[in-house]
């Protein structure tokens, strides 16, 4: 996996990482995390809970934030801290855009804001992370 060729700088925007969403994604995640919950696999259950469709797992958004961090900083980068708030449901068909911006740079280590937003630019899950860069 590619690593940033140059050192990150504060304010740097990281390339967005995009994922479609739906039962193909959610049921594979349920498969490995044993998260077989009706609201995640049945539109009727999603509607009963007040949403227009079934919706994705917060834990899967969490996974995507980690994928993006490795996409940006390489597979040998070490994520030492990560946090997220789940603000809005990822309903069926939402395209997730995982975006990031560097907020601090220390020797061998960066802080980033990392979040998932929909195609309308609404932040569904804001978060942040600290990453130790590989080889440092």
């Amino acid at each position: 996996m590619a690593q940033t060729a140059t050192l990150p700088t504060v304010g740097q925007e990281l390339p967005e990482f995009v994922r479609d969403t739906g039962f193909q994604h959610w049921n594979r995640y349920a498969a490995v995390n044993d998260e077989f919950i009706d609201i995640h696999m049945d539109d009727d259950a999603g509607k009963a809970a007040g949403y227009p469709t079934a919706f994705g797992m917060g834990n899967l958004t969490w996974a995507y934030l980690h994928l993006a961090l490795h996409e940006w900083f390489g597979e040998e980068a070490r994520i030492s801290h990560a946090e997220v708030q789940y603000r809005s449901a990822v309903t069926r068909g939402t395209q997730l855009h995982i975006k990031g911006i560097v907020t601090a740079v220390r020797p061998g280590e960066v802080d980033v804001d990392v979040w998932a937003e929909n195609s309308e630019g609404t932040r569904l899950a804001p978060g942040s992370a600290t990453v130790h860069l590989a080889g440092s």
């Binding site: 490995v32 801290h81 997220v84």
Partner: protein
């Protein structure tokens, strides 16, 4: 302290007390490989998660699990195999302690804060323990809400911290 509260004396008494203690089955290469396929879908996952030769040459010296991998999925060595729970109980936490919960209808996973330590690897046996860090209340759009923060710590067979998570649940 307000007269009206979701937080009973019984609930206050469980703060800090361990629950959900479990020991995983040994992490298998297959578990890691499938996890990586699932979270990277529809992309092919990185070789680090499924190609031992490739992983040996990396800084990790072998296959590691993605940070967010869950070794307790499906079943754990201790406690053993249980029947699947049908439906969802918003008072799950209090029920575990045998006390009465607030009986609220909705329970949302509001987010989490995680520190990572040692990476999980094939063969690892992970232990977990959780406790309630705090119960608080807040007024919001949905009226009075109960906010529960649960701290969960995972440790590997060498006693190294794998991760520590504070997870926030909102009930109303």
């Amino acid at each position: 302290m307000s007269e009206e509260t979701y937080i009973s004396d019984e609930m206050r008494a469980i703060v800090g007390k361990p629950f959900n203690e479990a020991v995983s089955f040994p992490v298998s290469r297959s578990d890691i490989r499938r996890w990586a396929i699932a979270v990277y879908y529809p992309e092919v996952p990185p070789r680090l998660y499924w190609d031992e030769d490739y992983a040996k040459a990396s800084v990790y010296g072998g296959i590691v699990a993605p940070e967010d991998f869950n070794p307790f999925a499906w079943a754990s060595a201790s406690p053993g195999m249980t029947t699947r729970r049908a439906g969802f109980n918003a008072d799950y936490l209090e029920t575990t302690f045998g006390i009465q919960g607030p009986g609220l209808k909705t329970n949302l996973n509001a987010g989490s804060v995680t520190d990572y330590g040692s990476r999980m690897r094939p063969g690892d046996v992970i232990s977990t323990s959780a406790h309630v860090l705090s119960y608080t209340e807040k007024s919001g759009r949905m009226g009075r809400m109960l906010i529960t923060i649960i701290r969960t710590t995972w440790t590997n067979q060498s006693g190294e911290m794998v991760k520590q998570t504070n997870q926030t649940a909102i009930r109303y």
